[in-house]
C-alpha cells in the first residue's frame, strides 16, 4: 500500500472500492473543483525532490542527527521568563502514551469515554483544591492564553472597559493579553510594585475604579517575588465591583495560601511545571478557574466535566456540562471560540499531582523556595550583580541587576561556558539591565554553585579586559 498505515491506499483495494463507487478514475470525485484551480503539479514538500516520502528509519536517522547536533547546556537551564526546567516523572512519560487516551477525541460520546471524562474531572478537582476555588475548566491552551481569556471573562462579567495589570506580570503574557484584547476598546493600565517588589496595594487602591473590570497580578511575579498582598488587592477590587485575577504558579501553592482563599475571583496558571517537560515551549496547559458563582461560571470559557449518575440511577458517571456556553452551540454569543484545548496535558497534570501527593507537593515547594533563597544568598556575595528585592519572599526566580556588562553579553558568555544562566528581562523594557534566573528541583547545590562561579568568571572577565 502506498500509505503504510492506510490499507485503502493499496492499489488493488482502491480499485475494488472505486468499482463499488462506480468510478473509473479518482478524478471523477473532484470534477466539481474548477479546472483553473486544480493543482497541475505535485506539492513541493518533503525531503526529496521527486515528491516521494521517506521510510521510518530514514526519518529517525534525521531525528538522531538533529539531537546530536543540538548542543544542550551541561547543567539544567536557569532561563525561564515563562517556563522553567522541571523534572518529569517516568509514570507520566509512559502513561500519556496510552493509546486509548492520547488518540481519543473530545469525549462528546460520554458512555464510551468515561475514563477520559473521569480523568478530566479529577484534574478539575485537584486544581480546584490547589488554587482554592470550586470550579476549574477542563484546560486552556497554555497559561498566557488562559490569562487572556480570564481577562475577557472579567470584562464580560463586569461589562467594564479598563484593565489594571501589575508591573509584576511577565512581559510576554502582557503582549499576549494586548493581542487578545485588540479591537475591543479596552484600556490597559499598569499598577506599580512597592519597595518589596510586590504589587503596590496603595497604588491599586488609587487606580481601581468603577470602570475597572479586573486587576491582574502574577505570583511569584516576573521578579520572583511572592505576591504577599493578595487579600488587600482583592478587597480593593471588590470595593469597586472589579474582579481580581491571580496568575499563580501551581507549585508555589504547595506552601502558600491559595489565591481563591485570599479573595481572587478568577485564578489562572501555567501547568507546565506539573510534569509536562519543556519541548521548546509547548504544548503546555492553561489553568483557569473561578469561584462557585453562577454569574462567573456562566461566563467561564472552555469545557467543563460534571459528575453525575446514569439515567437508571445505578452508576456514577461523567459528562461534559454547561455546553451552552460554548461555540458549537452558542456560536457568536459563546464565551469563547475555544474547542481543542489541552486535555492530555491536563490529564498529565492530574497524574503528576496524584503521584507527588499533597505532602510531596509541600516538600517540593519548600525545597524550591529554599533553593531560591540559597541562590539569592550566593549571588549577594558576587561582585557585578545586585540582587533585587533581596529580603522579599521569593519562589523559583531571582532577579538581578547586572553591572558593567549587558545582560545579553552575560547570557552569551555563560552559554559559551555551557550554562544557560538566565533571561534578559530588560529586552522587553522591564528595568535597566535586569536578568532573571530560575532555579527548580532539578538543580542541585553544586549546580547552583557552578552557576554562581561561571557568572563570577564572566563578570570578572570584563574587568580584566
Amino acid at each position: 500500500m502506498e500509505i503504510p498505515w492506510a490499507k485503502n491506499s493499496d492499489e488493488a483495494v482502491k480499485r475494488r472500492i472505486m468499482e463499488e463507487v462506480g468510478i473509473a478514475s479518482i478524478e471523477e470525485l473532484f470534477q466539481d473543483v474548477p479546472a483553473e484551480i486544480r493543482l497541475k503539479r505535485t506539492l513541493r514538500v518533503g525531503l526529496s525532490e521527486d515528491g516521494e516520502g521517506v521510510s521510518e528509519y530514514e526519518l529517525l536517522r534525521l531525528a538522531k542527527r538533529v539531537r546530536e547536533s543540538i548542543s544542550n547546556p551541561r547543567i539544567p537551564p536557569f532561563a525561564g521568563i515563562e517556563h522553567c526546567y522541571h523534572v518529569v516523572p517516568s509514570v507520566i512519560k509512559e502513561l500519556i502514551y496510552r493509546g486509548e487516551l492520547y488518540t481519543a477525541y473530545t469525549p462528546y460520546a460520554f458512555e464510551i469515554n468515561q475514563g477520559l471524562l473521569q480523568a478530566l474531572f479529577e484534574y478539575q478537582s485537584l486544581i480546584a483544591e490547589l488554587y482554592g476555588v470550586e470550579v476549574v475548566n477542563a484546560s486552556m491552551y497554555d497559561g498566557s492564553t488562559a490569562l487572556a481569556e480570564a481577562v475577557r471573562m472579567a470584562i464580560r462579567v463586569t461589562k467594564r472597559s479598563k484593565v489594571l495589570v501589575s508591573e509584576g506580570l511577565s512581559p510576554l503574557k502582557l503582549r499576549v493579553l494586548e493581542t487578545w484584547l485588540y479591537g475591543l476598546g479596552i484600556k490597559i493600565e499598569r499598577v506599580g510594585l512597592d519597595e518589596r517588589g510586590a504589587t503596590s496595594v496603595e497604588e491599586a487602591v488609587k487606580l481601581v475604579d468603577r470602570d475597572t473590570a479586573a486587576l491582574v497580578v502574577e505570583t511569584p511575579n516576573v521578579y520572583g517575588v511572592i505576591e504577599h498582598g493578595v487579600k488587600a488587592l482583592a478587597d480593593a477590587c471588590h470595593e469597586k465591583g472589579a474582579l481580581l485575577v491571580v496568575f499563580a504558579n501551581p507549585l508555589l501553592l504547595g506552601i502558600v495560601k491559595p489565591p481563591g482563599e485570599l479573595g481572587a475571583d478568577i485564578v489562572v496558571g501555567e501547568g507546565q511545571p506539573l510534569g509536562l517537560g519543556l519541548f521548546y515551549g509547548g504544548a503546555t496547559l492553561g489553568i483557569l478557574g473561578t469561584r462557585r458563582d453562577l454569574k462567573l461560571v456562566r461566563q467561564l470559557p472552555g469545557r467543563l466535566v460534571g459528575m453525575t449518575l446514569t439515567e437508571d440511577g445505578v452508576d456514577v458517571s461523567y459528562a461534559l456540562v454547561l455546553q451552552t456556553r460554548e461555540q458549537h452551540i452558542r456560536r457568536e454569543r459563546a464565551t469563547s471560540n475555544i474547542t481543542t484545548n489541552s486535555a492530555l496535558m491536563a490529564i498529565a497534570a492530574a497524574m503528576y499531582l496524584s503521584l507527588i501527593g499533597g505532602e510531596g507537593l509541600k516538600r517540593l515547594a519548600l525545597s524550591i523556595a529554599s533553593r531560591t533563597l540559597y541562590l539569592k544568598t550566593r549571588l549577594s556575595d558576587l561582585d557585578g550583580v545586585e540582587v533585587l528585592y533581596r529580603n522579599s519572599p521569593s519562589f523559583l526566580k531571582v532577579a538581578t541587576r547586572v553591572k558593567g556588562m549587558s545582560v545579553e553579553n552575560v547570557i552569551r558568555r555563560a552559554r559559551e561556558r555551557g550554562i544557560l544562566c538566565g533571561s534578559n528581562l530588560s529586552r522587553y523594557g522591564y528595568g535597566d539591565n535586569v536578568m532573571v534566573m530560575c532555579v527548580t528541583e532539578a538543580h542541585s547545590r553544586s549546580d547552583i554553585d557552578e552557576l554562581v562561579k561561571v557568572l563570577g568568571e564572566v563578570l570578572s572577565h570584563v574587568e580584566a579586559s
Binding site: N8, I23, F30, G46, E100, Y102, A283, A319, S370
Partner: protein, 512 residues
Amino acid sequence: MWRQAKWVEKPIIAYPSASRSGFRVPFENDFTEYERQVVEMLKELGMEREELGIPNISELEVVRHYVRLSHMSYGIDVGPTPLGSCTMKYNPKVCNEFLKEAGVEDVHPEELEEYIQPLLEMLYRLERWLAEITGMDRCCLQVPAGAAGELAGALMIRKYFDDLGEARDEMLVPDSAHGTNPASAAMAGFKVVNIPTNDRGTVDLDALKAVLSNRVAGMMLTNPNTLGLFEDEILDIAKELHSVGALLYYDGANLNGIMGIARPGDMGFDIVHLNLHKTFAAPHGGGGPGGAAICAKGKLVEYLPRPLLDFDGRRYFWNYSGSRSIGMMRVYYGNVPALLRTFAYIAMLGGKGLRKVAEIAVLNTNYLVKKLEKVGLADYLELTHSKTKPRKHEVVLSAKKLKKAFGVTADDVAKCLEDQGLHPPITYFPLIVEEALMIELTETEPIEYIDRYVEALRRCIDLAKRDPTAMRKMPRNTSVGRVDVVRANHPKHLVLSHKFEGFAELLNKFRD
C-alpha cells in the same frame, strides 16, 4: 459481543491517603538549612498554607488508576472514530518516536538560537511546506489550535482595516460554518452576518451579493464545507468579496479532502489557518493539545503574529520585527511537539503521498455513501442538499425520517453505535441539517471497518423499526449506561469538582 471494561474507580482525590508521599524531591537534603528561614518568612507574612487536600498515594495505585481509566476510554487506536470535521486519522507511531529521538523535551524555549540550529531548520522547512500546501506566502506556527488561528486571522483582518482607516465591522459566515467561525469573529469585535446555504449545499451567491457593502471586512469559509461539498463557486465568491475590498479567510479544518488537489491560495483566499492535529496526524489527545498554523499572502503577511522563523542564508532565527503585526497569540513559538510530528508526517508522505491522502479520504467517504445506499439505509439516513454530488472528506446524513417514523433520534443512533464498540459520528451538526449525523472516515479507515460501520448502522435502523424503546435504553455494553445529562446540568445537582455538596453523595455509591 463487545463489552467495554468497567472498573469501579473512585475519583483519585477521594483515595485514602498515606501519611507521607513517596515522592522524592531531588537534592532535597542539599537545602534543608534554608527551609526554616522560608517557613518563618511565610508565617510572619501570614502566607503559609494550612490545608492541601490532595491524597498521598503510591505509584502503583496511580498507575493502575489511570491504566484502568484508559480501559474505559476510546480512541483511534481502539476503533473507528469517524467524527465529522474532526479528521480523526490514525497517527503513525513513528511520529512519537521521532519526537523522542530528536531530543526536544529538554530544549528550553529561551535557548540561544545558535545552539539549536537543526531544530530551527526543521521548523523552518515545515513552515515552507505549509506555505506551499496552502498557496500562501508565509505561515506563523505560534497559534496553539485552529480556533486560535481563527482569532488571529480575524484580528489580522480587523487591524488591516484599522490601518487603512476603514470602518468595517461585519464578518460573513455561512450558516453551515463551524461554530468557531462566528465565535472567533465575535471575539475580534465583528458583527456576524450569516449567509444561507442554497439547495445545492453551497454558499448562496445571491444572498452573499445582497449583503456585500463597504461595511464587510471579510468572510470565513471552509472548503470543502461542513456538508462535505466543495464550494464550486469559490472563484466567484472570492471575486465578489474582493470587489468590495473585503478579505477571504480559509478555515483549514476540512483541508484533508482537498490537500494537494487544490490550494486555498489559488482559490482566492487571503488568510488560512491549518489544524495540524487534523490534517497531519498529530494526536487529538482526548481534546487537545492540537497544533496549528496561520498563513497569509501578500500585504497580509505583515499582520501575522510574531515571531516568524527566518533564514538569512547562514542561520535560522526568530524574527520579531513587523510593526503592523497583531502581536503574540501565545508565549514562545507554538505547540512544538505537534509541529515536529507534522514535519515527520509530511516527510514520510512527500507531495505525492499528501495528494494520495486526500484522494483516499474522499474515496472512503463516497464508498460509505454507496454502501449505505446498497444496503437500503439511504431512506432513513439520507443525504440532504445535493444527492448526487460527490462528497469530499465527510458526509452528513439526516435521520429526520427515522425520527418521524419511529421516534428514534440521531442521538439514539449514536448510542446504538457505541453499544457495538464503535465511536459515533458528530451529531446535530451542521445546524442546517435536521437530526444530523456527520461522518468523516479519513484515509486511514480500512475497507473492512467501513463495511462493519455500515453493518452496525443497519442493525441500528433495524432495531429502530422493531423496538424503538429498546434503542432509547442503549448503550448497555459501554462502561456505563446512558448518562443522565439533565441531572448533570441541573443547578441543584451540578458537581464540577469535589468541592460541590453533591460529590459526597455520589461518593457513597462506591460503597455498594
